[in-house]
Structures are given as structure tokens and as C-alpha cells.
């Protein structure tokens, strides 16, 4: 992989992209910080995760989606195109071991592509910026899973395609198709909304929000393993088509089982410093005492912005905090326009322990007292020191662009040159003048 151009080209493109994204993010964060200088309330809304990390990693996301497939395909595609695969499959390793080695190479290539982003984080710290370890590592982990997911799809595409060009078309159909799903179908009612959840980019959303979702992790790991297993099934040219089809079907069944299991795993860990995915600590503690099933009936269309707010501010947090929450959409299959004439539209009904209450608020500040009332529990007092302070910072990152536009690309070119040097030949392989071999 190091001897080809694809990886180095990716790195050369990635350096300025990350640099530009980082500088823009720091500039915007600085503007927001100036406004928040005298207001603790505004300052508490300034999180480096949203303001700097996610935008800087955005460049990596673009490159992983559009360029990394070409790097990953090269791990196998070149051997298929040149016929070297006929030697590869004769080596004394089982096909799954060959695929595991290819996946390891893809992993290393992805690690190399992380260098520009890591250097951006280092510069952010040098500028005095704040990084929260768990949420930063969680974001890197999310991008790693996404990179391996794209890599595994690319490997599978290379295994089933005769040429690297065809494999590239297959992978880009997956990755760009995901964007189409995201932009075209997200927020649409019914089946379309469900289909939009199949988008690859959905894999990153939770990690960008500082959440470590265990079920999603298992699901992504399952899909990565599934594509790797399918690659192993289709790699060997000597295996009859019938056997390949039967084994592919078995892989598909196993993958479906893992995905089904993944959807049952609800727990997720909120690693964000501002605990944005959780209610305030006092409420989190109080909610652990609510053991009865909670049923929430929402009279909102899924594409309604109020539903998006409710989902983020209340429903998702309740699902994390309570063991048994059922959410029903009363408007399933109906669009927002078709439902607004209904008087009940906009109502959210909470049913707990045989009692019900209705609200139209999408904020936890109204929903939780309602819930405590249904459960007959007192509203907990806010704990001191609960407030996230925020990390405003006004710095100019423009000088760092020299690193991303010149310094780092120069290092990449030097490393490329270094890997291209002819290797040193051992003395015993060289015939000296006049000497007999």
C-alpha cells in the first residue's frame, strides 16, 4: 500500500483540507467566544467538541468517504488486476488470514490518514484550547469504525470485481448513496425514515454527540466483519460459484442475527464533558428510582422540527435513563401537512403507573416534573457544580496553516520518497566480480 500513489495522494489532499477546516472552526469558535466573554450562560454553550473537533474531523470524514475507498481497494484490487492473486491464494495461509492481513493494512492506512487531524488537535492545545480526553477518544473511535466500515466495503468490492475501477464504482455507490439517503430521506415519514437510518454516515452521528452507543458499536463491528467474511468467501478464484453463494447466504444470516442483537442493546455511555446526552445529574439519579414502564405517545410528524427537539432533549435521554420506555408516534405514516388540522397534533402524552399527563413542551424542564408528578416523586433539587462551564477561546489559527499547507505535505512527500528508495541488498545475494555464486 505504501508503494502505491493512492495513500500518499490521500494524505497530500487531506493536509490542506484539515488545515482549512481547523482554521475556519477556530475562527468561528473565537467569534462565538468573544460574544460569550462576559456571559457565563453563553460560555456554557461553547464546547470544543462541537466548535472545533467535529468540524476538523469533517475533512477526514469527506476524505474517508470519497478518497479512502481508492486506498482500501488497492489492498486487493491491484493483485486482482495483475493476476498476482493467483500467487497470493497459493501462499500457505487460509483465505480469512489473507483478508485479516488486508484489513490490518487498511487499518494502518487509516491511522496514517489520522496524522493531519491529530496535528490539528495538538495545535489546538498549543493555542490554549481545551480537550476532554474521553469525548476526543470517542470521536476518534467513531471515525475509526467508519473508516474500517468503508475499508471493509472496499475490500469486498475489490474481491468481487474484476477491476479496481469497477470496485471503486461499487464503493462510491455505497458511500455517496449514503449521502443521498441522508439528504433525501432523513426526516421523511414512515418507511423512508427507516431507510434513511441505513446510511453509513449515521454511524458517526452518536460519536459526534459524545455518545458511545454499545449497540451501534456491535452493529458496525458486525457489518465490518460481515463484509470481511464475504470478501474471504469471494476471494479464492478456485471455489465453485455454488459454494460461494451458499457461504454468502450463511454470512448474510449471521450478519442479520448480529444486527438484530445490536438493536436490542440499548445502553450507551455519555462521554461528553457537558453530559449533553443525559439529564442533569440530580434528575439522572431521581429517574433511576422509576421502575415502571413509561409509554410516551407523540402526536407529531417525524419531520416536524418540534419532534426533532423532543427527541434530542427528552426522548433519547429518557431512553438512556429509564429501563423500560416505549415511544409511540400517533402520526405514523402521516405527513406534517396532513396532520396539523388535528387538534391533538403537537401533544405529548406520558403514561406511567396507570396515570397519564399531556404536555406540548419539547423541553425536559417541563417533561420531567410532569413525570415525577405521575410517579409521585418530588422534583429533585439542582446540585451545585452541575453546570458545564464552557471553554471560550479567542485565538488566531491562521499561522498554523503554514504547517498544513507546506510543513506537513513536505513531510508526507519526504516519507513517500523514503518508501520509494531501492532497498539495501544483502551481501550474500550479490555476486562479486570474479566470484562464483
Amino acid at each position: 500500500m505504501l508503494s502505491g500513489r493512492a495513500l500518499w495522494t490521500l494524505l497530500l489532499i487531506l493536509c490542506p483540507l484539515v488545515g482549512y477546516s481547523f482554521a475556519q472552526a477556530v475562527a468561528l469558535y473565537g467569534e462565538a467566544s468573544s460574544a460569550a466573554r462576559d456571559s457565563p450562560a453563553l460560555a456554557s454553550g461553547l464546547s470544543p467538541l462541537d466548535g472545533v473537533l467535529v468540524p476538523s474531523f469533517g475533512a477526514l470524514y469527506i476524505c474517508t468517504t470519497l478518497l479512502f475507498p481508492f486506498v482500501a481497494i488497492r489492498a486487493l484490487g491491484r493483485e486482482k488486476e495483475t493476476g498476482t492473486l493467483r500467487l497470493l491464494v497459493q501462499l500457505p495461509y487460509p483465505t480469512p488470514a489473507l483478508i485479516a492481513a488486508k484489513m490490518a493494512a487498511i487499518f494502518i492506512a487509516w491511522l496514517l490518514s489520522l496524522i493531519p487531524v491529530l496535528s490539528a488537535l495538538a495545535i489546538w492545545q498549543l493555542l490554549g484550547g481545551h480537550l476532554h480526553g474521553p469525548e476526543t477518544l470517542n470521536l476518534i473511535f467513531g471515525h475509526l469504525l467508519y473508516g474500517l466500515l468503508v475499508g471493509a466495503i472496499a475490500l469486498f468490492a475489490a474481491a468481487v470485481s474484476e477491476s479496481a475501477a469497477t470496485a471503486a464504482i461499487v464503493v462510491l455507490a455505497f458511500t455517496i448513496g449514503s449521502w443521498v439517503l441522508d439528504f433525501g430521506l432523513a426526516g421523511q415519514p414512515g418507511l423512508l425514515e427507516w431507510i434513511s437510518r441505513l446510511s453509513l454516515t449515521q454511524a458517526l452521528r452518536s460519536f459526534e454527540q459524545g455518545l458511545l452507543p454499545l449497540g451501534l458499536m456491535l452493529g458496525i463491528a458486525g457489518v465490518i466483519s460481515g463484509f470481511a467474511a464475504l470478501s474471504a468467501v469471494w476471494l479464492h478464484p478456485g471455489r465453485p460459484l455454488k459454494i460461494k453463494l451458499v457461504r454468502s447466504a450463511l454470512c448474510a444470516v449471521a450478519l442479520a442475527a448480529v444486527l438484530a442483537l445490536a438493536t436490542l442493546i440499548r445502553p450507551s455511555i455519555d462521554v461528553s464533558e457537558d453530559q449533553r446526552n443525559s439529564f442533569p445529574p440530580a434528575d439522572q439519579r431521581a429517574l433511576t428510582e422509576l421502575r415502571e414502564p413509561l409509554v410516551i405517545t407523540v402526536h407529531l410528524a417525524p419531520e416536524d422540527p418540534r419532534y426533532v427537539d423532543l427527541r434530542r432533549n427528552v426522548l433519547a435521554k429518557l431512553q438512556r435513563a429509564l429501563p423500560n420506555v416505549t415511544i409511540r408516534l400517533a402520526t405514523t405514516g402521516q405527513s406534517m401537512l396532513g396532520s396539523t388540522g388535528n387538534e391533538a397534533y403537537g401533544e405529548i402524552e406520558y403514561s406511567y403507573a396507570g396515570r397519564s399527563a399531556t404536555s406540548r413542551s419539547t423541553s425536559h424542564r417541563e417533561a420531567l416534573p410532569l413525570l415525577y408528578g405521575l410517579a409521585g416523586k418530588p422534583v429533585p433539587a439542582t446540585l451545585e457544580g452541575d453546570q458545564y462551564p464552557g471553554y471560550p477561546l479567542t485565538r488566531d489559527a491562521e499561522p498554523a496553516l503554514i504547517w498544513f499547507y507546506a510543513g506537513l505535505p513536505l513531510l508526507v512527500v519526504l516519507a513517500w520518497w523514503w518508501t520509494c528508495r531501492p532497498p539495501r541488498i544483502s551481501e550474500h545475494l550479490i555476486i562479486k566480480n570474479g566470484a562464483q555464486p
Binding site: 508503494s3 502505491g4 491491484r78 493483485e79 495483475t82 493476476g83 498476482t84 493467483r86 500467487l87 491464494v89 497459493q90 501462499l91 500457505p92 478464484p237 478456485g238 471455489r239 465453485p240 460459484l241 531501492p422 532497498p423 541488498i425 544483502s426 550474500h428 545475494l429 550479490i430 555476486i431 555464486p437
Partner: protein, 250 residues
Amino acid sequence: MATSSAIAISQNAQPAAALMQISGLGKRYGEQRALAEVSFDVRSREVLGLIGPNGAGKTTLLETLAGILPADGGEIFWRGAPLSLADRRDAVFYLPDGLRPWDDQFVVRSVELFAAVYGCVETRVAETVHAVGLSPVLSKRISALSKGYGRRLMLALALLTPQPVLLMDEPFDGFDLRQTREMMGLLREVAGRGRTLVLAIHQLGDAERVCDRFVLLAEGRVRGVGTFDQLRAQTNEGSGRLEDVFLALT
């Protein structure tokens, strides 16, 4: 590589002992029949020539034997026992024609890769490199090699492998007359040390010089099997060359 004892090279094997039996091998590409009921045996430590014109099915046969192409029918036996696809890579190593493996790498790297994979000691690697005359181009990229040196590299890789049977597709293609003779001598030496060679050759003169026995293939069918003398006797070509025998049988 850990080679199973049943498949390992036996230095004491009798020259005439049958190592592999190929029985009723068939292969189709859609409507086109590439191999039809191909049956013959491969004997230990012999140099067996697969002889036939272009399109006779030689490469298809070698790739099917190596397990790189799935056969539509027939069986392959190793010392009388069926040889599975998984065991195939312990028994045979196939050297494709015209291949430049890992062509963006340096020659020495691919040699070192094979040496590491098969656990070859330094002296054996050096002997092999010197024997095939690869030393002058070790620091070159594989893509920059001439056809002849590309062939030498492939030969070197094959000689570093431990399998008892080597299948080679057109091993002399790209060599001039002197180099061809030199390589023939090397292959005879390899066979003398206990390895069995199956060579697909379309130059009948070359085949006549290097092979112990022949399998004559035409249009995917076996037209004759035997030593040169046996084939001559079969066709009443008493003093004829191999090409006369081949023409008589096809």
C-alpha cells in the same frame, strides 16, 4: 510451511511411482468446452510436458490442477487419495505465464517475501537467486524488468516454494536459446533433487529436450500420453520429431 507428511517430498521415492492421478477432469466456459475428460498421471521426480497448440487447454488444465480454477467434473488423487482444494496448496505450486507479481515492488522484496513465508534459510535464497541469474536486478522494480528477467524472478519464487510438484506455464517464454538451455539444465537439476515438474510448453523442440514424458492436448482432450519413444511407437513415427508425433496424434 508445515507440509503434511503424505505430501512432503520423498527423496527415496521411485522415479516411476505415480504421485498424482488426474481422472476425468472437465471444464467449460459457458458453451465452450475447455477440458473434456482429461485423465493422466504424474510420476514422482519426472518432468512432464503438457504439449499442445495455443488454445489447447494447457493453462486451464494447470490452473484447475492448482485449484485456482474450479473444475466442472473429475477428480485429482494424491498417492491414491482424493486431493482436496485445501490440501492442494501443500501439494502443488503453480507458476502462471506472463505474470509480474507485485509489480510496484522491488525484486528483492518479493524474493524476501517468499523466503520469509516459506522459511527459507539465507544460503538457499542466495543459491536460488544465483542459480536463476537474478542478482543484477535485485534492486530494480519488478515493473521495470525485461521479459527474461521477469521470467527468472518467477522461477526464483517457484524454486523457493517447498511443494513436491511445480506446475509451470510456458517456463521458457522470453528466454533466448542460450538462456533456455541454461534454464532447462536448472529444471533438470531441480527434478533430480526430488521435485516433480509439470511444464506447459507450446515450443515442441524445447519440450523434447527437457521432458521425460508428455501429455499431448488438443481442443481440451488428451490425444496421447507417454515417453517420446512410446508416442513414436504409437504413431509409427520411428525417427520422427515430437512435432511429427503430435501432428500424427492430432
